[in-house]
């Protein structure tokens, strides 16, 4: 019994760690989300520490990965084997600004044990361009060096950070560009975008001209973010699926209709990339996609649930056998590109429509607030599972992009269909695997085996990355 409870607790935590970002959601405030998530982290760390650490190998989001790392480093006395390697491997994959913020939090909390210092040292040593970091994340680098008692990467960077007036000029081109950018407009374009923005404003450079000239220095996401002001023609190839979906949903309807071919092509290409080896292997697939008003998310997560649904639409299309996919939106709309978050959530009736086709797989993408009428989706799935499909010809899974702070989990439709949290549509294949555990019939042993396999893969991937 306790094994089942443990497995349930860990899966609940994985769901939370995949979806929750501590930000405001449609139905709960940021404070509620943070409170709920903070409790969950502590509960799982205290009770299932090894499993808690191995969650770092799963596709949990960066916010939660940073929280897990922080919790692990705060309590070194209880640490188990291999935690340090997991932490190092996860930090190596995280965005540097998040890692610097994490180091800052550790500093504030006065966490300065030997393991923490070693992790900071190794992470900083692995940074490809310390001078760029010193310019772009100046206070973060300074704080990390001070906190871990580390020497700067080289003498010039050290002077740049801690004795800025000491040198008349720098040998390193990035540091030199930063110095010159104070008076020389042309040097601005040798700096990273986020730093250059401030200098451009100081020099009074026209935004449009600035964006055009800085373009080569932008990261991929910065380019996507500024493409609205820079004008269309941005390169959408190579964008991750969910980012692309978010970008598409941010465009006005007229533009979406106008650029239909281009946008659909980009979404299809991203979905094929995400599907990878699984493409075309899922057979007949039916999806129920939630585009009710609640999928508009919140001011800080604008249209996120809807973007996940849109991403899943294209991904499932790629995963299904050619021509064997049906996507049903709750609003009854048929054009995925012009989808808008509006109206109630009649999930139950849409699920019935989806089952009419006799699919091999049924995927429901929804925040779980089934309200027209409430609870009908759970009832339909229960009756269908117990009366009409007891042999499980159809595999059903509910993926939920919204963390419900009140229940410490994603909201479920009912016990008869497993619910898993989802952050990016790309993770769908891996999540469907986890959903097998969430059906409550597999115990802790299987879950442990699965996690060990994921950890091994994860660490192996990290090792290769280091060698390369």
């Amino acid at each position: 019994m306790s094994e089942l409870v443990a497995a349930e607790d860990v899966l609940l935590f994985v769901n939370a760690a995949v979806t929750a970002t501590g930000q405001r959601e449609f139905r709960s405030s940021a404070a509620e989300q943070r409170l709920s998530l903070g409790f969950l982290h502590e509960y799982v760390r205290v009770n299932y520490r090894p499993l808690y650490a191995s969650c770092l190998a799963l596709d949990i989001n960066d916010h939660n990965a940073a929280l897990v790392v922080e919790q692990l480093l705060r309590t070194p006395g209880e640490a188990g084997d291999g935690e340090g390697r997991l932490v190092a491997a996860r930090l190596a994959r995280m965005a540097p600004q998040r890692v610097y913020r994490l180091f800052g939090r550790l500093r504030e909390a006065g966490v300065n044990n030997r393991r923490t210092r070693a992790i900071v040292r190794e992470w900083l040593a692995a940074r490809p361009d310390p001078a760029l970091d010193a310019v772009k994340y100046r206070s973060g680098v300074k704080g990390a060096l001070r906190h871990a008692h580390l020497p700067p990467a080289d003498a010039e960077t050290g002077d740049f950070l801690f004795a800025p007036g000491k040198r008349v000029r720098y040998g390193n081109p990035t540091l030199e560009a930063y110095r010159r950018a104070h008076y020389d407009e042309s040097a601005v374009y040798a700096l990273p975008f986020s730093v250059a923005e401030g200098f451009a404003a100081r020099h009074g450079v026209d935004r449009k001209v600035f964006l055009e000239r800085i373009a080569p220095r932008m990261t991929r996401l910065e380019r996507l973010r500024t493409t609205r002001t820079a004008g269309p023609g941005a390169d959408l190839r190579g964008m991750p699926l969910t980012r692309l979906a978010l970008h598409v949903l941010a465009l006005p309807f007229a533009e979406r209709a106008e650029r239909r071919g281009e946008l659909t092509g980009a979404l299809r290409a991203a979905a094929l990339r995400a599907a990878g080896p699984y493409a075309g292997s899922w057979g007949r697939v039916a999806a129920v996609l939630d585009d009710s008003f609640s999928s508009s998310g919140s001011a800080v997560k604008r249209r996120r649930p809807l973007a996940v649904a849109l991403g899943c639409h294209f991904l499932l299309e790629a995963l299904a056998a050619p021509g064997a996919y049906t996507g049903l939106w709750t609003s009854g709309g048929t054009d995925p590109l012009l989808v808008r978050p509006d109206g109630p959530t009649p999930l139950g009736l849409r699920i019935l429509d989806a089952l009419d086709g006799g699919p091999e797989r049924l995927v429901i993408v929804s925040d779980g607030w089934d309200n027209a009428p409430p609870g009908l989706a759970g009832e339909v799935l229960r009756v269908w599972r117990s009366r009409l499909d007891p042999e499980r010809r159809t595999a059903a899974v509910h993926v939920n992009p919204v963390y419900d702070a009140g229940v410490f989990d994603v909201r479920r439709l009912g016990p008869s269909v497993p619910a898993v949290g989802i952050r990016d549509a790309e993770d769908l294949p891996a999540l469907v695997e986890i959903a097998g555990f969430a059906e409550g019939r597999t115990g802790l042993t299987e879950l442990r085996t699965y996690l060990d396999r994921r950890v091994a893969d994860f660490l192996a991937g990290h090792g290769e990355g280091e060698k390369a």
Binding site: R24, F293, L349, L352, N371, G375, E379, W384, S386, L388
Partner: protein, 400 residues
């Protein structure tokens, strides 16, 4: 016409948030020939008024004062007004404070006593009125004139000035706990033209408009409307209400294929609609009201109505409505009276029916005159009584 007729409006499943339950009403097709718009008054000081995380922006205006002409000044706080438009042009654009013409927007001209809150500009096929003011005005002016005969128990002031000044308290929607949040996360149904608001499962108010587009625009104004004292208390002290979740009976052989399952799912929707109309909204729909026509606009008529003020424990609502020529409701807005307000209405009714004669009224009520006097005092009408006259009357009764 004695009842509210909600023909053409269908009930859809309720959405619950905390102690607030919102029941959407949808129309298969909008009422032709009448549109309702919102009108913002005043300078429009913007303020965030929507609960924890901010939601709606309410438009506050400075209290506006209007000279009624005979030296009386009417001062009111007006969050927003409505414009009923029966010109039939059915323009699609949202009208928001743009239909006032060139007049200063903060004022509402008042002339004829009954048309005070509904004003039509000359030659226009549009009527402007303030939501719920008509209804509240109707309730406040109930037997406003006071006693017609100076029986000894009543003071001279009672005869001279009636019930003036007469006041009742109400709460703005933002002060009703949980209402703003519930309205913010409410998912509008396609074709939705109205909503019934329940606080702790007591009907707090009904709101119906002629066209779904109007409803979409006016939905946020629900948070600026007036709600009775009782609604505020219920929302404040009431526990979260449960969802009426669907249940499909699948006993032996009940459901054999998907078609059966679909039929059972449809059945759930129908049963909810029946249960709602018969159980939750019964008091609103089945009470006979006293309707008073305030305005006639083409084939539509604007009414206000008062409940029978019966003390049988049922909900009592006041409100205003616009009906088409067949008596079907195009616009409806109600206000739930608290028990104390119902008691006051009841008392005034009974007194008036006995020409304000305390002895006869007490007899009609089956109680002693002393008890009736106590009730008059408890209802807040003590100032109408004359202490000397009361003492005299009591002495007479004792002697007699």
């Amino acid at each position: 016409m004695t009842r509210i007729d909600l023909t053409g409006l269908g009930v859809r499943p309720a959405q619950v948030w905390g102690g607030v339950r919102l029941v959407p009403l949808v129309r298969a097709e909008p009422v032709g020939g009448l549109r309702l718009h919102r009108e913002a008054y005043g300078s429009g000081v913007r303020r965030d008024g929507g609960g924890r995380d901010g939601g709606y922006v309410s438009h506050l205006s400075a209290p506006s004062s209007v000279d009624a002409g005979d030296g009386t000044v009417y001062t009111s706080y007006i969050p927003h007004g409505f414009v009923a438009d029966w010109s039939g042009t059915d323009r699609e654009e949202a009208v928001y404070g743009t239909r006032l013409g060139d007049g200063p927007p903060a004022t509402v001209p008042l002339r004829a006593p009954h048309h005070r809150f509904a004003k039509r500009r000359r030659g226009e096929r549009r009527l402007r009125f303030l939501p719920l003011h008509l209804a509240l005005d109707g309730y406040l002016s109930l037997h406003f004139g006071g006693p017609p005969v100076l029986w000894e128990e009543w003071s001279r002031d009672a005869l001279r000035r009636g019930l003036s000044p007469r006041a009742e308290a109400a709460y703005a929607g933002v002060e009703v706990p949980g209402l703003a949040e519930a309205l913010r996360i409410f998912e509008l149904h396609p074709g939705q033209c109205g909503v019934l608001v329940y606080a702790a499962d007591a009907l707090a108010g009904a709101f119906v408009v002629p066209h779904p587009e109007d409803y979409r625009l006016l939905h946020p104004t629900l948070v600026e409307d007036l709600y009775g004292e009782q609604v505020h208390q219920y929302a404040h002290y009431g526990a979260p209400v449960p969802d009426f979740t669907a249940r499909i009976r699948d006993g032996a052989g009940g459901i054999r294929n998907l078609a059966d399952l679909r039929a059972a799912a449809r059945e759930q929707e129908r049963r909810w609609a029946e249960a709602h109309d018969g159980l939750m909204a019964r008091d609103l729909l089945e009470t006979p009201y006293a309707f008073e026509r305030v305005y006639r606009m083409g084939s539509f008529a604007l009414y206000r109505f008062l409940p029978p003020f019966l003390r049988d424990g049922r909900e009592q609502h006041i409100g205003e409505l616009i009906t088409d020529h067949k008596g079907r409701t195009a616009y409806l807005k109600t206000f739930r009276l608290s028990d104390a307000q119902v008691r006051r209405g009841y008392l005034l009714r009974r007194l008036a029916s006995c020409d304000w004669h305390v002895g006869r009224a007490a007899e009609a009520l089956g109680t002693a005159p002393e008890e009736l006097v106590r009730r008059i005092r408890a209802a807040g009408f003590g100032e109408l009584l004359d202490a000397h006259g009361l003492a005299q009357a009591r002495r007479k009764r004792q002697e007699g």
